[in-house]
């Protein structure tokens, strides 16, 4: 088996390991203990393995681990913790935007990448942004509501009673 020494940052921490050239970033992250990165379809269709690579959301199953050399990877653990939730995470909980939870890590990272670029997206822009992240439980309405609430417009409006809207 061909291996290479690979070095990159995950959530700010330096990672260095000897890795087979053919394993994907998804496989590498899960083997290194970052099991919050979910393994769904392994061909870039479902988005559950989404991570931020230098701030941009990508399917980690479509990146070879060796390609991450010198780059920064952010998983959902890097955006908030149990005692210090990211506003998106708070709103996902408040709006009931999580059911089985399998898509949630990827969904949160896609949403975060959007809000980093555009703090006040429209519902349409939010739906476009999460179009590579499949959710088979919620029907997306509550996810879009939760992201909407986290936008600069949503936070200005203050705490609103979550209500179902046409998605």
């Amino acid at each position: 088996m061909k291996t290479l020494s690979v070095q990159f940052k995950v959530n700010g921490e330096e990672v260095q390991a000897e890795m087979p050239t053919h394993i994907t970033l998804l496989q590498a992250l899960r083997e290194l203990g970052y099991t919050e990165v979910k393994n769904g379809c392994e061909k870039g269709d479902c988005g559950s393995c989404t991570v931020l690579l230098d701030g941009l959301p990508v399917n980690s199953c479509l990146v070879l681990a060796v390609q991450a050399t010198g780059r920064e990877v952010t998983t959902v653990r890097g955006i908030g913790s149990l005692d210090n939730l990211h506003p998106l995470q708070k709103n996902f909980i408040e709006h009931g935007a999580i059911q089985c939870g399998f898509c949630t890590p990827g969904m949160l990272l896609s949403a975060k990448a959007l809000l980093d670029e555009n703090p006040s997206p429209t519902r349409k822009e939010i739906r476009e942004q999460i179009s590579g992240n499949l959710c088979r439980c919620t029907g997306y309405v509550k996810i879009v509501d939760a992201i909407m609430e986290t936008t600069s417009e949503g936070s200005k409006a203050g705490k609103r009673r979550p209500r179902a809207r046409k998605c």
Binding site: H22, T50, L53, G132
Partner: protein, 288 residues
């Protein structure tokens, strides 16, 4: 996935040297969104994988002497965010919106999409209509191939061993060109095209002086339908002529049955969509 040697050259010349003489056992990686799944499922078993992603010099979008030049490693995201593409290559710009999903667009490249040569390649259809050319480099030199002669068959191109796609370039459409693009998929995001159509018309009053009609997912390669184009060229365009043109387009395609649609459906949709796109671009009343 069998193990392979992984090379990541930082310049084009280093990449050309890296692949020199290794052709049958070597696979190039651009964005990797198509190649990596085929490496994983064992369809491809290369001995060498050469990652072109580190060649920053092949990532650019610029205008030069009436041509738009796009480096082969420009991502779909970069095209989508480019004011120049939006303004002067709007057919291509429209296609970037429905290209897979945002996660894939952040990695996938225009050069990779063309070199992959899928009949449903989303950038190929608008680029064919725009009269694009592909630049290829090898250690021996450089050549330019018109995109309509670049695809050699299902997932095959005219790229020779030792060559790398470096640039795709198209002439800035003349002012007043009429154009329309449509991709029919099973859903909005992450869809592989069932039929896609790009139409570009040059009009002088009601006379059509030049036409380009490109279709995707209806033949072994994305293609221009030259017979159909010829029907409009030099004529006064009315609904009757558009109908003939759309029928001719549907006659010159060779679709297949697959999980997304039947060949019959695709052929019918060719006629419907070519008709609709021409009418839409010219503001003609579409009787259908």
């Amino acid at each position: 996935m069998r193990g392979f040697d992984f090379l990541s050259p930082k310049s084009l010349i280093a990449a050309l040297r890296a692949i020199d003489g290794k052709a049958p056992t070597c696979k190039l990686l651009a964005g990797g969104t198509n190649v990596i799944p085929t490496l994983r499922d064992g369809t491809l078993k290369p001995r060498f994988v050469v990652d072109l992603g580190g060649i920053k010099a092949l990532n650019y979008i610029r205008e030069k002497q009436g041509w738009i030049q796009i480096g082969a490693l420009t991502t779909i995201r970069d095209l989508l965010n480019s004011p120049l593409i939006k303004k002067k290559g709007s057919l291509l710009w429209e296609a970037t919106h429905i290209f897979a999903g945002p996660l894939v667009r952040n990695r996938a490249t225009v050069g990779g999409n063309l070199a992959d040569a899928s009949p449903a390649a989303d950038t190929a259809v608008p680029l064919l209509a725009l009269g694009a050319r592909v630049k290829l480099r090898s250690l021996k030199g450089q050549r330019t191939v018109p995109l309509n002669r670049f695809f050699a068959g299902y997932q095959r191109t005219v790229i020779k061993p030792g060559e790398i796609v470096t640039e795709v370039t198209f002439p800035v459409p003349a002012r007043g060109r009429k154009q329309s693009y449509y991709k029919l998929g099973r859903r909005n995001a992450m869809a592989i095209s069932v039929v896609s159509v790009a139409v570009l018309l040059q009009m002088k009053g009601k006379i059509c002086t030049d036409t380009a009609i490109a279709l995707g997912a209806v033949a072994p390669t994305p293609l221009r339908v030259e017979k159909a184009e010829g029907i409009l060229r030099g004529k006064k365009v009315d609904l009757e002529l558009v109908k003939h043109c759309a029928q001719a387009a549907a006659k010159s395609v060779k679709p297949i049955d697959d999980i997304r649609a039947s060949a019959d459906y695709r052929r019918t949709l060719c006629e419907v969509l070519v008709h609709r796109m021409i009418c839409q671009s010219l503001g003609l009343e579409d009787a259908d």
